[in-house]
Symmetry: C2
Subunit: 149 residues, 2 copies
DNA sequence: CTGTTTTTGATGCAATTGCATCGAGATTGA
DNA sequence: TCAATCTCGATGCAATTGCATCAAAAACAG
C-alpha cells in the first residue's frame, strides 16, 4: 500500500513559482535589450563566451553542450548557423575522426565583446539594481542547493 | 561623453548564472517526470490550474496570458490544442464580441488533478528535499525582489 | 454621430526545438 | 581479431515558437 505523496510545503511551492517567473521575466527583459540592439540571442552569447574561455578558444561540441545545457541536436544546428555567420569554425579533432573542435573566430570574439556591453548593462539594470551584494550571494547559495546532485 | 557601463559585480553575475541553470535543471527534471508518466507539459498544467482557480473555472485568454506569462499567439494556439483534446472550451464573453471565456471541462479538471500527483511528487523530490522551509522562504523573498517593478 | 484609435484574438509564414534515427568511427570483450 | 556495443555529431520530419499582420469589435475624440 502506498500513501499519496505529501503535498509540498507552501513555502516551496511559492519559491518554485517565483523561480520560474523570475527567470522568465529577467531573461525576457535581457533578450529584449539584446534584440533591440540588433544582437542575437543569449544562446549565441553563451556559446561564444564558453569558447572564448576554452583553451585557444576551442571546445568540443560536447563540452559546450554540457557547459550551456544544450541539447545535442539543438547545438549542432546552432553551430551551423554560427558558422554560417563566420563566428565559429569547425576543425578536425586530432586523433578521433568522430569528434571535432569548435573554434571561435576573431569576428566571434568581437561580437561577444560588443554583446557584453549591452548584456552587462542589462544585468546591472535588471539584477544589480534590485539586490545588494550580500543578497546576490545569498541567492547564489540557495540556488546552488537546488542544482546540486 | 558616456562612460562604459560598470561591470556587474561578480556576486551578481554568479547569481544570474545560477538562476538560469537552476531553472533549466529543475524544469527539465520535472518535465521529464511528467512526460514519462504520459502527461503533457507544464504549460498545459499552468493553463489548467489557472482556470481551475478562476471564477466558475473560467478566465479570458488575456487573464491566462498574464498569469502564466504566455505570448498571445502561443496561448491562442495552445488553447486550440487543449480544446481539441477536450480539456477546455471556448464560450462567448457576454457583452463583448471580441472577447471570449475559456472554461475548463471536467476532463480538464481531472487531468490537472492527475498531473498534480506527479508534479507535486517531483517538486518534493527536486526542491523540498534540497531546501528547508526557511530557505525556501528566503529564496522566495530574494526572487520577489527581482520580479518587482 | 462618425472617423480614428485601441483592444482582442487568429493566422500565414519563417525560425527553432524536439524526437527519432542514422552513419561513421572508436572501444570493448570473448 | 573481429563482432557487438558505444560515442559523436548530423538530419528528416513533426511540433512549437516567434514575428508580423489581420479582421472584428469596442472605446474614444471631436
Amino acid at each position: 500500500m502506498q500513501e499519496p505523496p505529501p503535498e509540498p510545503p507552501a513555502s516551496v511551492i511559492r519559491a518554485w513559482g517565483r523561480l520560474i517567473r523570475a527567470e522568465r521575466i529577467v531573461v525576457g527583459r535581457i533578450e529584449a535589450e539584446l534584440k533591440s540592439a540588433g544582437f542575437p540571442s543569449l544562446h549565441w552569447y553563451d556559446v561564444l563566451l564558453e569558447l572564448k574561455r576554452g583553451p585557444e578558444g576551442r571546445l568540443t561540441p560536447r563540452e559546450i553542450e554540457e557547459a550551456g545545457l544544450f541539447e545535442q541536436y539543438n547545438l549542432s544546428r546552432l553551430l551551423d548557423r554560427m558558422e554560417n555567420k563566420g563566428l565559429v569554425r569547425r576543425i578536425p579533432f586530432p586523433g578521433d575522426k568522430r569528434r571535432q573542435l569548435i573554434e571561435i573566430t576573431e569576428e566571434g570574439k568581437a561580437l561577444q565583446w560588443r554583446m557584453w556591453s549591452v548584456y552587462g548593462a542589462a544585468i546591472n539594470r535588471f539584477i544589480s539594481a534590485k539586490l545588494t551584494d550580500k543578497e546576490a550571494g545569498q541567492l547564489s547559495a540557495l540556488l546552488l542547493k537546488l542544482i546540486q546532485e
